[in-house]
Subunit: 326 residues, 2 copies
Amino acid sequence: MKTIHDVAKELGVSASTVSRAISGKGRIGQATRERILRYIEASGYYPNAVAQSLAQARTNNIAVILPKVHTLTDIPFFHTCIYAIEEIAQANDYDILVVVTNGRDTRPLERLILNRKADGMILTSTYENDCFVPLLKEKKIPFVTIGAVPDGDVVQVDNDNAGACMELTGVLLAKKIGRIAYLGNGMEQMVNKSRFQGFCAAYLQYGGEPDGDILYTDLDSKVMIEKAVDRLLQEGVDCMLCQDDFICNEVVRLLADRGMRIPEDIKVASCHYSRILENYPVTSLKFDTGTLAGTACRLLFDLLDGKEVPVKTVLDYEISLKESTK
Amino acid sequence: MKTIHDVAKELGVSASTVSRAISGKGRIGQATRERILRYIEASGYYPNAVAQSLAQARTNNIAVILPKVHTLTDIPFFHTCIYAIEEIAQANDYDILVVVTNGRDTRPLERLILNRKADGMILTSTYENDCFVPLLKEKKIPFVTIGAVPDGDVVQVDNDNAGACMELTGVLLAKKIGRIAYLGNGMEQMVNKSRFQGFCAAYLQYGGEPDGDILYTDLDSKVMIEKAVDRLLQEGVDCMLCQDDFICNEVVRLLADRGMRIPEDIKVASCHYSRILENYPVTSLKFDTGTLAGTACRLLFDLLDGKEVPVKTVLDYEISLKESTK
DNA sequence: TTGTACGCGTTATCAA
DNA sequence: TTGATAACGCGTACAA
């Protein structure tokens, strides 16, 4: 592999001149610049990225932090994040490093920071008492979160989960459907917490109050979802509002098993749409994950460029009304 | 950030001694070695990975090449690949670089190679006339493929797609179910080609021959799947054998729409299981994606260590018999 | 066993 | 405008 020195020698100039021709930094004659660039093009020289990293103390890598996730329906979200971020990164001559960790173990992040292998990071998930945020702040790593952080100076991009769920719940309340049950879990994740808060806020706005007996916020397994659904069926609720498509998918299946028809016998709605619900008569919220992640990535690049960026970016949503609530 | 020289100075030794203490390479006194390591531990020194990369011409990164994929059911496969590879990489002090490209565009790979940002690569998908394989061979990049490559000297890990589909088809034939239709697409991908070949091979073995009229290998859209299903229903086939869970999921939905019951009215089988089919009465093949990708990663590390590795590793499968064919 | 000196390939500083 | 030289931080022959 030929180096910048080889090129310099072959051209009878110095290495620094070649460097200037490539980078565009520093003064250089128009003629020599073009001559060098032309030669480089032809000779197949390509700068060594590692050496550049060492000299400039920057890697041209960003890290994408993924939570350890196992539910089938969460996958499209993070998958879409990766693809959206990768596409923008590629366009900016950056590469992405993917790191997986659960919500508590900071070691993979610490290792990454010590190794200085990335110029910035994107957290694709946030938690109630997030352990990654303080770590990154302390180490002064530029980062952006996908999901809310209750911290005024963290650059974050988020869906309007609370607002969307509030509106969705409002729609259901306005239809006077009857008793609405809520089925959720994982309240330590900000996304889930916000959705539940939106649900409650809708009641406040409409002057009522949700019935505590038909609210579930700890359905951590399929078995628990099943128990909840059976109890809610006994209770005779009129609508099941599901926190996400995993729960919703289970609920739809369980109801079908029990011979309950949607929407004739019972209504179902979901706070998060994914293609898995595509063919169900379930009213749901549509968020644009690609834009969400893409925005986070762009903000990170702005941050790395030293630009001013808005601390909080909230994206819009769409309510997809289906037979279930029309 | 303190360097190896700082540590050396503070300890009154030379930088190379510190380097030796850390790496374990080269002779060094037991006492000094321990003294240095203890001091490093306490002082919080951590070697600069970029400088190491430059000096050793290795990055401690591997690249995972992902195809641009949009179908919901393909996602779990590649997602599982990423997670399995990342876990093993992390355990070996490697990081993973994720690069997305379609089956024809080699530019992202070329950029990666020129930048020398990864010591090796894993191709998570292979094609009939693969353009990545010759590129990597020419550039002498160590790599492993997930999926077959018709090339005797490429290290590859694969599910026994042909064998599995042959056995599955054999099971269906043995049950004397009747006429079996095949629904597939994307024959330029090795995985799909192999499955179809397995299907055909089963007929050869049993002395019969598949009925060309009910074989589809080009169902590239939902519309086409729908047309095929309707035609097959008119034809009165007894079983629909689906190439993968995307097609299978569509088929199951279409049949339900048309009031056809599985398995009473028609049988359905799939050459690839995923949790999306979990609750369907569909006989399918179970492959272990985590092991598949993990094996590929381990082989790549062996390759990087200069060890001898088997050129072709074929993994086992499981047939999950459901009501549909019992 | 330890230290010296140089190479890895660039960028940046400072003269010229 | 250009060139020599020193970082960047580490690994490693080679010498001591």
